[in-house]
Symmetry: C2
Subunit: 194 residues, 2 copies
């Protein structure tokens, strides 16, 4: 990486942490100048617009999700072991990897009624995630761990329901049993898939 690229990466990292707590809307060049101690003009040299900055942050989040969740999970054998890893890493490691928790959760409700490139990018990332869960469930059918007539789309809906509910009950409502409930719901889901 060149020095310029390194600086840019460091700025995007700070922007990502900021967005995980305050959302995309508050990610202005001014707020980022405060967080990084850089001048606004210095930041404008790296990011031409707020929109471009938002996209860079979402792209960085996608990279991190691959590092924190996808790569370690894909080191597990295909089938139920990999699905368990995807679930556990998304529930716990990914949620804890940023100060405000899952950034996709943080920006999803913000963007769902806001057409534009940021929404399009987010939807593409989340569809990729859904498809990855679906392929992993298909592999668990192929290994014989899951039953052949499993409704994969239904399985993925329920899996995502559980990981999505944890920030709601844990982070927002402060329920100390949220993680335990999420794991128990996942075990029940696996049981019905056998």
């Amino acid at each position: 990486m060149s020095k310029g690229e390194e600086t840019k990466r460091a700025i995007v990292d700070q922007a990502l942490e900021l967005v995980s707590t305050v959302g995309l809307e508050k990610l202005t060049i001014g707020a980022l100048a405060n967080a990084t101690g850089m001048s606004k003009s210095g930041l404008f040299a790296h990011f031409k617009s707020k929109e471009q900055l938002q996209l860079q942050v979402l792209e960085e989040a996608r990279q991190r999700y691959i590092e924190v969740v996808v790569t370690p999970a894909f080191n597990k054998p295909r089938g139920e072991a990999r699905l368990r890893a995807l679930f556990e890493l998304t529930l716990k490691d990914w949620e804890e990897s940023l100060p405000g928790g899952c950034i996709f959760h943080a920006v999803a409700a913000e963007l769902d009624d806001q057409p534009g490139p940021a929404r399009d990018y987010l939807v593409a990332v989340l569809r990729d995630q859904r498809d990855m869960f679906a392929r992993s469930a298909q592999m668990a059918i192929d290994t014989g761990e899951f039953r052949k007539d499993l409704d994969i789309d239904q399985f993925v809906f329920e899996l995502s329901s559980i990981t999505g509910a944890h920030p709601h009950f844990g982070r927002l409502l402060g329920d100390p049993n949220s993680e335990k409930h999420a794991r128990k719901a996942f075990e029940a889901l696996l049981e019905r898939a056998h």
Copy 2:
């Protein structure tokens, strides 16, 4: 209602619709002036601050949830029939009652890392909702429809997971089967509660 109260109520209604699509952060006196065609100073006469306006909107949302979901559900007999009504009305009628869908969903991710009166109010509303689901599940145990050893907190976690996942899959990802998946997940949850 006096004329002043009527005007205020009409303004809060418009603010609520605005918040359901753009979030609380963008609900400024200026944006509301644009949406209502009223002057900023006229609006300031009704709401002393942005914070007070936010609280009024959340209070109005709570009232509407009672009208759209709680009251019709409580006309059903206690037990499984009432739980079914609570689920269906939350999933469908409530989600469709505002242009941007469930307003609690819209502001939850926005407020979860933002301490203050708006977050406190939202958390109180959502805890009330959770407790209402829990009491309704307890009644279904009392009527003999649900098994006596049902883990009620676990049941409520899973019920809320399902209603929370629908805006994600339906509104954001554009999955036409989202509602069908939500209903199927709910039926499986009820089956395990019997």
